[in-house]
Symmetry: C2
Subunit: 121 residues, 2 copies
DNA sequence: CATTTATTCAACCCATCGGTTGACAACGAT
DNA sequence: ATCGTTGTCAACCGATGGGTTGAATAAATG
């Protein structure tokens, strides 16, 4: 098992927190420093710094350096890998339901036993 | 903010665990009982039962009753709400980069100051 | 009724998480 | 060199999470 598993672990865990989802939403608008990010929240500055670190370890954001500032930048590719995982199984499940619906349709249209497809073993 | 926030909390947290992602992948193929789900794993049966409960509380799966059995069923709509959240901000961010790229292109093509669009305030 | 099968509930352990406060580090400005 | 700004690190606390084992529930079956 590669570390793509761990990366998904961290990415999903990161977005499980409403504060961190708020940070992501904010960063979708523009890059921002930790101080700017912390401003709307009622928690300590250090707490937001920790949250940003969690997002960073999950690969969801990157940092750069501009004098004392360390602007935070949203990494859209990491979001892609999450939707890729979800969509794969959602599609698989929906395809299955579609086949099942078609099967039931055939069974009610006429009482013939269904012909077996290669996907159903 | 309604409990759609809490629901997202739970959904993302649910998929943050590799075992639970494995269960989702398995359930994309077909519904299954807890015993069937537990079989490939090296942990106790009760641990898998707990995992299924987490998925259920997150709205990712539903249960039905068939004699003693309680088959677990993947709820594709819950997966949809997750991708909806992610895609919203991914698209927002990508649109921004596209505008920035276009801006830089204009600035390097000729040295004219860029004309302000309605999206940049 | 007693048993088997399928599943949950309860109590516990230890690790991790989100929050706090206080100290430290890096850099720009004076 | 000192100061202010920006940010991280470290230690701690209470709550939550994933795991365990053991007991309890629910329903078919002898």
């Amino acid at each position: 098992m590669g570390d793509s598993t761990q990366q998904l672990d961290r990415a999903f865990a990161a977005l499980a927190d409403p504060t961190r989802r708020g940070l992501v939403a904010r960063l979708a608008v523009s890059d921002a420093t930790v101080s700017e990010l912390a401003e709307p929240y009622d928690v300590s500055f250090q707490a937001i710094s920790k949250h940003v670190k969690v997002l960073q370890d999950a690969g969801l954001v990157t940092r750069s350096r501009d004098a004392q500032r360390r602007p935070v930048h949203l990494n859209a590719e990491a979001l892609d890998s999450m939707t890729a995982w979800i969509e794969r199984y959602r599609r698989e499940a929906e395809d299955r339901y579609r086949r099942l619906d078609a099967l039931l349709d055939r069974m009610t249209d006429d009482d013939q036993p269904p012909t077996q497809t290669k996907d159903e073993s």
